[in-house]
Amino acid sequence: MKRVGRYTISLETAPKIAGYASVVGKKEKEGPLGNEFDRSYKDTSLGESSWEKAESRLQKEAVEIALKKACINAKDVDIIFAGDLLNQCISSTFGLRSLNIPFLGQYGACSTMAQTLALAALFVESGTARIAAAVTSSHFCSAERQFRLPLEYGGQRPPTAQWTATASGSVIVVPQTTVIAQEQVKTKSSKETDSLEKTPVITEVCIGKITDMGIKDANNMGAAMAPAAAQTILDYLSDTHTTPSDYDLIVTGDLGYVGSNLLLQLMEQEGVDVSKVHNDCGKMLFDRKKQDVHAGGSGCGCSASVLCSKLLNDIKSGKLNDILFVATGALMSTTSSQQGESIPSIAHLVRLKGI
């Protein structure tokens, strides 16, 4: 592990992702990535008595499936980094309390997936953990009642508002040298079919700085977060002396349509053209025309579920080889918004490669 430039940390052993999983709700399943998820629920309450319980279960199941796919037992995991949007991160603490894994709660708003993944990778890289897990979740209904209005309230959402994803994504990180049972089974049984399958590894992380360009509208978080994403990407490119064309994809967290547009403009003004390789999890998760999501998806679960389905699937299949995953978060609360404060934002970057 060494620092590159001012902000970037290079992981020389490139820890690998041994397993990952995504669990989503009905609307996400009906979206363009519907077939990529590991599990989905038609009933957004998951049969639970509260939305908070439903979200907790999303998170627990995402971890359980990811562990199962990695052929790892929960008792062997050295640390789990988890976070969500609810006050005191209750989806994480209540969802994961039965797993008996050393736990560090994280809050990075919608950037939490990159934050937890970066920490898991750093812990494995440094040898602090042999197996580290990262998980985040969000739930449309639990987020609405905490941040906005009751579900059945008859209001209109402005066109810049984004739709909180009901989803969770989890990643299990181990050293590259660890041979997991799954691979042993594979090499014995189906050498030919799986010989082309690649392993996703984490080679660099770049922790973002809090950026605030004075946007106050809590219904326009894409605009608030775009400068944070631009700043982190610029810092990373400058640290590593690379250009956007060196990557197959630069995927931002959940800027949605408004924020993505602004990101491209901000980057262009800095003389960097990312338009050819840029996409956004908030744009990928839902079908804007059919699904009435206004400016796209958002929430911790948005970037988490897109990463733990489409993105990692594509790295495994070789469609993507080298991507920058830049999850973005708006770090305000209902209190700060009501007191008229602007929205501080953050973006963390994780570079993922298929080897």
Binding site: P159, I215, N220, A223, E270
Partner: protein, 147 residues
């Protein structure tokens, strides 16, 4: 980045699509008008049943509040309101929805601290400022009547 807050604020405003003003206004007019017409119809009905005007008017309000509460409970009201906007918000039906929807939402926190305490989170301010302004209006009216 070289960007200043002012410049970015303008950039963000330009990149953010505004609400569809004309469409929203037309929908509010049509739905709001329809609710008032239904109210008038109900009033005529009560009058035909032999109720006096004063009681019939109160009964119309009660009926509309009840209908909106039922539609909210069946999770229909918000779907209409998404299209109707101010058309369903401004009439008394909107008031009903603003009380029933938090009551439903916060039931999971119990009947005392959840349902009943949170019932007025949206309509509470309307009640406070409605009552305050009616008091001020009453005082002004009283002073005028002295001369």
């Amino acid at each position: 980045m070289k960007m200043t807050k002012d410049v970015y604020g303008k950039m963000a405003k330009q990149a953010s699509p505004p609400s569809t003003f004309v469409k929203n206004s037309v929908m509010a007019f049509l739905f709001g008008g329809a609710i008032c017409t239904i109210g008038q119809g109900i009033l005529e009905g009560y009058l035909m049943l032999g109720m006096d005007v004063k009681n019939a008017r109160a009964a119309v309000s009660i009926t509309l509040i009840g209908l909106a509460a039922i539609l909210t409970a069946f999770k229909v009201y918000d779907n209409i309101a998404k299209i109707a906007g101010a058309g369903t918000l401004v009439p008394i039906t909107g008031f009903s929805n603003s009380i029933v929807s938090p009551a439903m939402e916060f039931k999971s926190e119990g009947h005392v601290l959840g349902l009943s305490a949170k019932m007025f989170i949206i309509s509470g301010p309307v009640l406070v400022y409605g009552i305050v302004s009616s008091i001020i209006y009453g005082i002004i009216l009283y002073i005028i009547s002295l001369f």
